[in-house]
């Protein structure tokens, strides 16, 4: 039983991993700091641990999809991320792929139900 549970959580983790980048990119048109992003994703039903999100943001920045800036004017320094132009191009392509993939998945899963 325990093994089955482990397998299921490993499979779910794998399934979710593929959606992380597109989820994050979708929220980054306007500048956002890390924890605000965690909350906004959570509100939309995408729970993402901060220990996954923060390293991911740095990776996406390294790939040129996001850019960051430290705001030091407030009570404490905050790092704001936003999509670069290149990030937007990649995001648009990912979105098109996602739409066709999710439509196909839906058709396939409905077939199974029927």
């Amino acid at each position: 039983m325990g093994e089955e549970k482990d397998l299921l959580s490993a499979l779910l983790l794998e399934l979710r991993r593929g959606t992380l980048t597109i989820s994050v990119l979708s929220q980054m048109k306007e500048p956002k700091y890390g924890y605000a992003l965690v909350q906004s994703l959570e509100e939309k039903g995408i729970a993402m641990d901060p220990n996954t999100l923060y390293p991911l943001l740095r990776r996406l920045e390294g790939q040129g999809l996001l850019e960051s800036q430290w705001e030091t004017g407030g009570a404490k320094p905050r790092k704001y991320y936003r999509r670069t132009e290149y990030g937007t191009q990649v995001y648009e392509q990912l979105k098109t792929q996602w739409e066709s993939l999710s439509a196909a998945m839906e058709r396939m899963l409905r077939e199974e139900d029927a």
Binding site: Y33, D49, N51, Y54, K79, Q89
Partner: protein, 364 residues
């Protein structure tokens, strides 16, 4: 935030950042302090915040997620093979040399004393040999590992460069990526079972050649006719040791060429055009070098016959009569003829197996 909570935060941030590259530490520290501060404001308890963030080691792992190995899966199999062969090539010659040097240092003795002395010498030789072989193997292992790490590193660098050269703009412009697209035409033909080269045999060949090479360099007098006399052993060398500095490089070069051919066979693992070309080239060079050794250079000990007969003078053996027929020229001709026959037979086998069963390997 209490002092205790601030201390907990500092400890957590330190645990995450200490495993990261120096260049990243400061910025990650600031990011984490910002995050923990925000979460603390939301949850009101440092304990709850840090529990949600989880093990700092796993957090650091996420930051480091990249290449986490020295030798990757692409090189691992070749690396393991290479390590085994190199370790054998180091351990066997070192053991053999240690035994030989222990035995040749024996004082003259007869009867039971001699047996005891030999046993002791063998034990001492083995002990030294094992210690030296272990030390040699550790160095060889380190050197091979370093070599493969550099290979892996170089490959990773190349891949990074490729990743940089790719971009969405280029795709949109319809530019082709610099690397040709894979098509089924890239598939290598499946080698016939009869075209497969036994790697174990190649490894044995390689070890044998290395041992021979080391003995030629370190103990050429070992290739001698041995005459046990009362209380002493007389060695009459077969080779011309006075001219050895001239002869040795040619001899070793010939072995190194054979070794290179054998290593290539082991790496390729089957008969193919590359193996065939290498075998033909190495074979031809080896025949030429053998002819040089046998017919041009003063290879054999010129006094072999006289020295051997002198050593046999006291013994009643009939071997002395046969030694009278020793003729360096004839021996050279026979050795050269045998060597040519063996090399041609091997070349013939390789050509036949390559053309009949071998896989075509692109040389570009």
């Amino acid at each position: 935030m209490t002092t205790e909570e601030k201390d907990l935060q500092n400890r957590y941030v330190y645990q995450v950042t200490r495993c990261l590259p120096k260049a990243q530490r400061e910025e990650v520290r600031m990011e984490l302090e910002e995050l923990i501060g925000d979460m603390y404001a939301d949850k009101g308890s440092m304990e709850a915040v840090l529990t949600q963030l989880g093990d700092p080691a796993r957090f650091a792992e996420q930051y480091r997620s990249g290449r986490q190995y020295l030798i990757g899966p692409e090189y691992l199999e070749s690396y393991l093979w290479f390590v085994r062969v190199v370790l054998l090539c180091v351990a066997v010659p070192v053991l053999v040399l240690s035994l030989v040097s222990a035995l040749t240092g024996l004082p003259a003795a007869a009867g039971q004393d001699a047996a005891l002395l030999i046993l002791r010498a063998v034990a001492a030789g083995l002990r030294n040999g094992i210690v030296n072989a272990l030390a040699g193997c550790v160095s060889a292992f380190g050197a091979v590992t370093l070599l493969f790490i550099v290979m892996e590193w170089q490959k990773v660098k190349i891949e990074t460069r490729k990743a940089e050269s790719w971009s969405v703009e280029k795709l949109a412009d319809g530019q082709k990526p610099s690397r040709p697209r894979w098509t089924p035409r890239f598939l290598e033909p499946v080698p016939d079972q009869r075209a497969i080269i036994n790697r174990g045999e190649s490894a044995v060949g390689i070890v044998f050649m290395v041992v021979f090479c080391v003995l030629l360099i370190a103990a050429p007098w070992l290739f001698s006719a041995v005459f046990p006399q009362e209380g002493a052993v007389i060695f009459v060398p077969l080779f011309n040791l006075e001219q050895w500095p001239t002869i040795l490089p040619v001899f070793v070069l010939s072995l190194v060429i054979a070794l290179a051919d054998e290593i290539l066979q082991m790496v390729m693992g089957c008969y193919c055009k590359l193996v065939m070309i290498s075998n033909i080239l190495c074979g031809v060079i080896q025949i030429l070098l053998c002819a040089l050794l046998m017919k041009v250079l003063p290879f054999w000990n010129p006094n072999f016959s006289a020295e051997a007969q002198a050593a046999l003078a006291t013994s009643t053996s009939k071997a002395g009569e046969y030694l009278a027929y020793w003729n360096a020229d004839t021996v050279s001709t026979v050795v050269l003829a045998v060597m040519i026959l063996i090399t041609l037979a091997e070349m013939g086998t390789t050509i036949y197996k390559t053309l009949r069963y071998g896989a075509a390997v692109r040389l570009g």
